[in-house]
Subunit: 320 residues, 2 copies
């Protein structure tokens, strides 16, 4: 249904990643050409239709959202020392860290160029606020690396910032363009925020495999980095409640001391399954999807409302 609109967004993305400095479109093409779900710009497009928006600025805002996302991916891959992105070798491993950092900066600046062209200061405010929250979330995650004692509350704060903030902003800017009023703005913001939380929860469960995992998704990245995610937080919590010394020692060794050897990822996955930690994480995701969908209740039934609800279901269905 949104295919034509997304084709428009794609045209803008490809136009605006151009530069006479050849390394920029080369590197950007490597990332953008690898596809990706374009979930975030789709939120802007579908939300704009839901609000009855009839202009063309939603294309530019959707492209801006994707540029902000691409910039964070490029920087994340340097920060996390990633090997793969979207099934391809990560850009930092081909061009080096420096071009990944700088092309990320370029795409981020281009995102703001696009927003300025829409003339909506309010949309600019929402997306620039989201951008600083994303960076805060990334730093908080970094500061919490290898902290086996991280609480669920801190984790939810991190994913709310690093992931959900952009989903929320991408959805919220649509009613702003359409001047739909604050009630619809809050509803779509909530929809996006909850959807983003669910998305990250599912992603964090997928990192331990065990499902018919989505294609191209590599397994064990979080574990190898010593990143605390909900499955591990739940399993560690259970081990503490039961006084399971073996499990506690294991998690402290692999996360806090970051002392890992072969077989540890498999042991971790076994422990998570034993404690139902992956299923519990997916249950949490399903709860957020429920909240996301019910935030749309204030909108009358329409094909776009149905589309946004299906999109929400899709986020959790990719693992079942």
């Amino acid at each position: 249904m949104a295919a034509e609109d997304m084709a428009q967004v794609d045209i803008i993305i490809r136009e605006r990643m151009q530069s006479p400095v050849g390394m920029i479109p080369d590197l950007a093409e490597h990332l953008v050409g690898a596809g990706g779900k374009r979930l975030r710009p789709l939120l802007t497009i579908a939300s704009a239709h839901l609000c009855g928006y009839e202009g063309t600025h939603h294309y530019k805002l959707a492209a801006a959202v994707e540029f902000i996302h691409s910039a964070t991916l490029l920087h994340d891959d340097v920060v996390d020392r990633s090997a793969k992105r979207r099934g391809r070798k990560a850009a930092n491993l081909i061009w080096g860290n420096a071009p990944s950092i700088l092309v990320g900066d370029f795409l981020f600046a281009r995102a703001f160029n696009l927003m300025v062209e829409t003339g909506s200061l309010e949309a600019l405010g929402i997306l620039s606020e989201a951008s600083s929250i994303i960076a805060e979330g990334e730093v908080q995650q970094l500061a919490g690396l290898r902290d086996v004692e991280m609480s669920k509350a801190t984790y939810m704060q991190v994913i709310g910032a690093k992931t959900a903030a952009l989903f929320a902003a991408a959805s919220e800017v649509a009613p702003v363009l359409a001047a739909s009023g604050s009630q619809k703005q809050i509803a779509l913001r909530t929809y996006g925020q909850e959807l983003g939380l669910a998305f990250q929860l599912v992603d964090d469960a997928l990192d331990y495999g065990g499902f018919e995992a989505a294609l191209g998704k590599s397994v064990g990245d979080d574990f190898r980095e010593g990143k605390m995610t909900l499955p591990v937080i739940l399993a560690y919590d259970h081990a503490q409640q039961k006084g399971d010394k073996n499990a506690l020692d294991f998690w402290r060794r692999v996360i806090s001391e970051h002392n890992q050897s072969s077989g540890d990822l498999e042991t971790a996955t076994d422990l998570l399954k034993q404690e139902n930690a992956l299923e519990a994480t997916l249950d949490a995701a399903r709860e957020h999807i429920k909240t996301a969908k019910s935030a749309l209740d204030i909108f009358p039934e329409s094909p776009w409302k149905t589309a946004l609800k299906r999109l929400a279901d899709f986020v959790v269905q990719r693992v079942s």
Copy 2:
């Protein structure tokens, strides 16, 4: 004269670099607390007064300009693997590359938050355009690293983008705030651009020392990275004209092959002096300062006009 205004700018800078995520203000304080000349925000402040601006938005724009600059410094230090910044250990050597990248992103996003608050879409457009040009310039510089054949034209394009674009934008946003009209806008943009070119030329000469160099400035960074700057371009050019095989071999070895050993920096500096390449670079800077100052001719005499002219003189005087 601008001391009170700059104190206001400092208050905004310190307020807006705060975050509940402690690593952000810690790292930002390390950079901001080290001082720095605050040349770019000063351009916004002085230009605003020159245009008779009587509001308060110039404080926020000046702080935004400094945040954009700080973000590029943090990223540059990762890209260049710098050891020192403003006489202190570079942030990436204390906190690591990842926090420097992410706090840079945070400051960049905060810059846009501040701009949005001024409500000036035109200023936003100018500063976001400058931001993408800066990133383009940085990538172009990276792509030209160790290219001993780099032309003066390419070099001027690189420094026009990576350095002068922000000086130009910092100056141009003031007449935009004051609604002074396009003639004054072009004049101040030209002033900033020319000043920025001169600033970078002087910086590139200072990298080879040989003057009563400004405090805290380390020597030889560009050489060690294999970065082509005007002094080397001029010396290499002279060597080609004279068919000086020894000099050509030297430059090709240390730049193109990036094969350097102890004593090479001294040899390079000697060659540059022999060819008057450092003096010629400073002469080029002086020419740009002349153009910068004459761009102000359309403004009636005033203490602020005098201040901007003195600021221009200061940029070249720090080496003589």
